[in-house]
């Protein structure tokens, strides 16, 4: 691969993203909706957009007792309402007697779960350490086609929508290193997806460009993502409802329920360019051109 450092005009950097696409295009009111996963979920449900069902919300420490309501469940996910980068998410996949098994292989007791939730309420995982809420939701089982590529965890699909047009998409696969999470910063694998057809191309893992999954060594290119047209339709509709001109929408594909909107990201990262091996700037410019 050629080392070409100084000709990078096509690539969108953080500065340009913040100035031209976030400050100038997105309204600050929408951020508050998107930064709080519970508010996002409420608005999605109101507009009949499929999203994982939430079982229980905990806002105050005295409500910790309500956790007993989910003690009988075998599978659930605990999430902070306003964490970033997949922090503070516990995915419970099984129960044996009084132990709960998480997706990364840890075994939790009921006290561990309570401690985790009370830490969340204190704001351990939120931006700037302010008070937060926790909620428990349906655990998504990744669709067979995607599950065949990876080991365990939940893979998600990020669709970047600019002014109502899906611009770029990326499939994020969890790895051993990311402990079942689909966040590139935590070591997940990002795979470029052709927006028109939903076929994957090549991936980026950490700093390297790869063609195979680092753990399973299954080829990651040429995978046809199921329900692709449906995903694009929901992505455009979601962007319109949240009135965001530049937004990343994260989808999961459930074995039983099909594509679900997991969350929205009003400050989508730039590694989608690495996964797709092309810069965003010309694409965004061409969409701007359509509006002039």
């Amino acid at each position: 691969m050629k080392l070409n450092i100084f000709r990078k005009k096509d690539f969108l950097g953080i500065n340009r993203r913040n100035i031209t696409y976030l400050l100038d295009q997105n309204s600050s009111l929408s951020y508050r909706l998107v930064d709080d996963k519970l508010k996002t979920k409420f608005l999605l449900e109101k507009n009949f957009i499929p999203t994982p069902k939430s079982y229980l919300t905990i806002e105050y420490p005295r409500e910790l007792a309500n956790l007993n309501q989910i003690a009988e469940l075998k599978e659930f996910v605990i999430k902070p309402a306003s964490s970033t980068g997949g922090k503070g998410i516990r995915i419970i996949i099984g129960r044996e007697e009084n132990k709960w098994r998480t997706i990364s292989g840890d075994v939790l007791t009921w006290n561990d779960i309570r401690f985790h939730v009370s830490n969340t309420l204190c704001g351990l995982y939120s931006l700037g350490g302010i008070r937060d809420r926790a909620f428990v939701e349906y655990r998504v089982r990744t669709h067979e086609i995607l599950a065949a590529v990876m080991l365990h965890g939940v893979s998600d699909i990020r669709v970047l929508v600019y002014r109502g047009v899906p611009v770029m998409a990326m499939l994020r696969l969890p790895t051993e290193k990311s402990q079942g999470k689909a966040n590139l910063h935590q070591g997940a694998l990002g795979v470029g997806v052709d927006v028109k057809t939903g076929v994957t191309s090549a991936g980026v893992y950490g700093d390297r460009q790869v063609m195979r999954h680092p753990d399973t060594h299954v080829s990651i290119s040429g995978v046809v993502i199921p329900f692709w047209q449906e995903i694009l339709r929901w992505a455009v509709k979601t962007a319109e409802i949240f009135q965001l001109n530049y937004v990343g929408i994260d989808f999961v594909i459930d074995q039983a329920l099909g594509p679900l909107v997991l969350e929205l990201n009003a400050r989508p990262g730039l590694s989608i360019q690495l996964a797709n091996r092309k810069g965003l700037v010309p694409l965004l410019k061409s969409i701007d051109g359509k509006f002039q």
Binding site: I5, R7, F11, G13, K87, L124, Q209, V236
Partner: protein, 254 residues
């Protein structure tokens, strides 16, 4: 596709289109012009009084702020908050560069080890942070007391409270960041802050820069104008050039 009507369309701030002089670039130019006007007006009273050490230091903080903004937005080094590198630079000036860096490293390592230990105790967040910092203080006090016989009776504890408070603040930031975003990010931020602080340290201790500020204290307005320009800087950061190094722009052509 239907356009999102609720948001007003904003002119692109593409450098290639700036020849048109759209609203996006008129405003900063106008503001800079006003600031220069201010500069000229306000410089008259300043000209008659030669600024002393304190005023000089204040202007040095502005220089430091500009340096932090450049390091973060143009180079792409992660730091703790915006002011932390400047505070550290001033501490390095108080206790010398080597001692400062060693002290910070020791405090960070202690905080890290204590956090690892206290993870098993399952404590709530705020008491845990307070506990970690208290233990760090305890160790510091023990260390200072044990040094007492070798210091020939001269006590300067009062002047040392400021540097130590700043270092404890740094320990707090470090532990918080470590719990929020992981050890790797926290260490990156710590190293980044030390790099920026060392750069600012050399900037504020250099005799020439001190003399320059004493002669031209109005430079602060120029710095503000420069910060305003930096606020609309949309180019790639040096770190991003490195991040996208394997991608060539040719692949983008259809």
């Amino acid at each position: 596709m239907r356009r999102l009507n609720t948001l007003s369309p904003v002119a692109s701030s593409d450098p290639r289109m700036s020849a048109k002089l759209n609203a996006n670039c008129i405003v900063p130019i106008l503001v800079i012009f006003l600031i220069i006007l201010f500069l000229i007006l306000l410089s008259f009273p300043i000209r008659f009084i030669r600024p002393d050490g304190l005023m000089c230091d204040f202007i040095m903080v502005t220089v430091g702020l500009l340096a932090v903004a450049i390091f973060r937005n143009v180079v792409g080094i992660i730091t703790f908050d915006v002011l932390t590198p400047i505070l550290w630079a001033f501490i390095f000036r108080e206790v010398s560069l080597l001692v400062g860096i060693i002290l910070l490293t020791v405090i960070f390592m202690t905080a890290w080890i204590l956090r690892r230990i206290s993870d098993d105790l399952k404590l709530l967040l705020i008491p845990k942070i307070a506990l970690i910092i208290s233990v760090v203080i305890g160790l510091l006090v023990f260390f200072l007391v044990s040094l007492e016989p070798f210091r020939n009776g001269e006590r300067q504890s009062a002047s040392l409270i400021f540097p130590f408070l700043v270092m404890l603040l740094a320990a707090e930031r470090f532990v918080f960041l470590q719990m929020e975003s992981g050890t790797k990010t926290a260490c990156q931020a710590a190293v980044g802050t030390i790099i920026v602080a060392v750069a600012i340290y050399y900037l504020i201790t250099a005799e020439s820069s001190r003399e320059f500020i004493q002669s031209f204290p109005e430079i602060i307005f120029l710095l503000i104008a420069f910060l305003l320009c930096l606020g609309r800087y949309g180019g790639l950061r040096v770190s991003e050039l490195w991040r996208f190094r394997h991608l060539s722009p040719m692949e983008n052509k259809k």
